[in-house]
């Protein structure tokens, strides 16, 4: 295992000549051997950040550290980062072997050493049958393996992956997602991975940095991002969620959140005054159909049969929520039902 690298990004800003502010005061620490996923919608700046770390774009201000060395003025070819492109960018005139060995040849390695290293990578990525083929003769999945082998050959300090799975079809994506996650963990190289696909992010990341409009909204483990989103954007971007209105009230000397159908104490760390409006989020899986008396009364507004379940839209105390109900019982709009809500799972922002 080579020396692992910690990546520290401090106050990185990037402004384009036409004035667009692509990255706004980005701060992020990627620990040694960690896989951090930059997740966000298109245009949020995740690819720009990745490319800035890799040296393909120039920052406007701020610092980037690989361990103790500030590298933002180092030219890209000297940064020793392994950059995997979305479309793989394999050199079309070279065979798989030559593509993988390209970086090694540039380092003036001995021919025999290059061949040995290339061979071991070909074996590792299961590329033996394609070793002497050209990229145009390979499938998407095969090309991706070559792209990864090519960057691994130069023993990079940091792996930067720019949506490597986006170009593949759904089934292949699922399969490769797992393989990629296992491989990255096995290699132990610090990795920064960009995607807009939440499932990829959840499967691969040690931590996820959710980005929006050039800003990192939250950096946390996948579980925390899911169950404890810090901002409205993160709450709504990840998974399905219901958004409701609530109001802060003072009750018995304690600050409570009144969500219409229930009241709960506010445990968050924000400065909220009584009477202030807040947003209350609830995931559909935290709502279940219940006949018990502790269920909250609701009226069915719409139901759509989805095969394995019903997609129900119900009105609770003036607010509409959506959740899933088992397909064993039929519903009609106007039906009265009871929903059990796990108050622990309510998210207040």
């Amino acid at each position: 295992m080579q020396d692992q690298v910690e990546v520290r990004i401090e106050h990185i800003n990037k402004v384009y000549p036409d004035g667009t502010n692509a990255l706004k005061d980005i701060n992020l620490v990627v620990n040694r051997g960690e896989i951090v996923v930059l997740l966000g919608p298109s245009g949020c700046g995740k690819s720009t950040l990745l490319r800035t770390i890799g040296g393909l774009e120039k920052k406007t201000s701020g610092d980037i550290y690989f361990n103790e060395t500030e590298i933002s003025s180092t030219p890209v070819e000297k940064r020793n980062v392994g950059f995997v492109f979305q479309n793989y960018a394999l050199f079309p005139t070279m065979t798989v072997r030559q593509n993988i060995g390209f970086g090694l040849k540039l380092r003036h390695m001995e021919k025999s050493q290059v061949a040995a290293k290339v061979e071991s990578l070909i074996k590792m990525m299961n590329l033996e049958p394609y070793a002497d083929k050209k990229p145009s003769q390979l499938s998407g999945g095969q090309q991706q393996r070559v792209a990864i082998a090519r960057v691994l050959a130069i023993e990079p300090k940091v792996l930067l992956l720019d949506e490597p799975l986006t170009a593949l079809d759904a089934k292949l994506k699922e399969h490769l997602r797992i393989e990629l996650a296992q491989m990255l963990r096995r290699l132990g190289i610090t990795a920064i991975y960009v995607t807009h696909d939440q499932m990829e992010a959840m499967a691969l990341a040690d931590r996820i940095a959710v980005m929006h409009n050039g800003v990192i909204e939250q950096v946390d483990t996948p579980q925390a991002i899911y169950s404890a989103p810090a901002t409205e954007f993160v709450a709504q971007f990840i998974g399905q969620i219901n958004k409701m209105k609530g109001v802060a009230v003072q009750q018995d000397g304690q600050l409570m959140i009144d969500a219409g159908f229930t009241r709960l104490p506010y445990t968050g760390g924000r400065e909220i005054k009584a009477g202030q409006e807040v947003t209350v989020f609830l995931r559909p899986e935290d709502m279940t159909l219940s006949d018990a008396a502790d269920g909250v009364p609701a009226t069915v507004e719409q139901n759509v049969f989805m095969g394995g379940y019903y997609h129900i839209g119900a009105k609770i105390a003036d607010q509409t929520v959506y959740f899933q109900a088992p397909n064993t019982r039929r519903f009609e709009p106007g039906d009265s039902i009871r929903i059990r809500i796990d108050n622990e799972k309510l998210i207040v922002i």
């Binding site: 890799g54 040296g55 393909l56 030219p75 890209v76 070819e77 000297k78 940064r79 020793n80 980062v81 392994g82 950059f83 492109f85 479309n87 960018a89 394999l90 050199f91 079309p92 005139t93 390209f102 970086g103 540039l106 380092r107 090519r150 960057v151 050959a153 130069i154």
Partner: protein, 270 residues
């Protein structure tokens, strides 16, 4: 039935025109090129291009000239096209229009441009006279003049072709090379140029055949220097040597058609 007739009408005129005024004359030319003494069939006209000393010299001149001009054009145009494709600057559109304008000039005018530059009263001698007191560079009517004239019309065309391809080139291939350790020059020479090689070769093939068959330019400038097109003209008008002239015309024609096909195949493979 009427529809079929009208459809035919769309294509018929040009087919008739081509049959009468293209295929027929070319066929006749080919026939004449094989004509020997008293109407016999011979390859002699073609072989004479090599066996006849004067003819061979002209062939040699043509080949040598075309090769050197094509190579020089490739290098110069390549550099300019790369530079233009990778930089933005004010007036770039104007500059590109300016530099590709010579493509529309007839060969004779290009010859005249060289006379303007390198003739006895040309611009370059004028400048050198002002600086050094003596007029240098009066080689318009020599082989050097022809060389420069051919450069004059080859460079703009080749710049246009290469520029188009460089602009469409996927920058990420270059970036990928940079990230595995190649600096700018290495990326260009080891990745960009090999990937664009088909474009370079086909542009060269086209430039080569334009140079081989250029007539007006050399005619304006050449006095004693003979190349195949001029030789062909001389044989035709002065010596009425129709068979040999036809053979030369067919020879250059075939070379050009073959090179054109090569260029097309290379580009289609992209």
């Amino acid at each position: 039935m009427k529809k079929k007739l009208i459809n035919l009408l769309f294509v018929l005129p040009i087919v008739v025109l081509f049959a009468l005024f293209f295929l027929l004359p070319m066929g006749l030319l080919a026939m004449r090129s094989f004509g020997g003494e008293e109407g016999s069939f011979t390859f002699g006209n073609y072989t004479s291009i090599i066996t006849n000393a004067r003819y061979f010299k002209a062939l040699w001149n043509s080949l040598w000239l075309s090769v050197t001009v094509t190579l020089a054009t490739l290098v110069i145009s390549g550099v300019i096209a790369f530079f233009l494709a990778r930089r933005e600057f004010k007036g770039k559109n104007l500059y590109m229009t300016l530099i590709t304008f010579p493509v529309s000039l007839p060969g004779v005018v290009v010859g005249f441009m060289i006379i303007i530059l390198f003739g006895t009263t040309g611009v370059i001698p004028m400048i050198t006279r002002m600086i050094f007191g003596k007029g240098y560079g009066t080689f318009a009517y020599t082989i050097t003049g022809i060389f420069f004239a051919y450069l004059y019309f080859s460079i703009p065309k080749t710049v246009m072709t290469i520029y188009g391809s460089v602009v469409e080139f996927d920058v990420r291939l270059e970036e990928a090379a940079r990230t595995v350790g190649a600096n700018e020059q290495q990326a260009i020479f080891r990745v960009v140029i090999p990937t664009l090689a088909p474009v370079f070769i086909s542009a060269s093939a086209l430039a080569f055949c334009t140079n081989m068959s250029a007539f007006g330019t050399a005619f304006t400038l050449a006095n004693q220097f003979e190349i195949i097109p001029i030789l062909m003209y001389t044989e035709y008008t002065n010596n009425f040597n129709i068979s040999v002239a036809s053979a030369m015309a067919i020879f250059i024609g075939v070379v050009c058609v073959v090179l054109n096909m090569v260029a097309r195949v290379l580009l289609e493979r992209e």
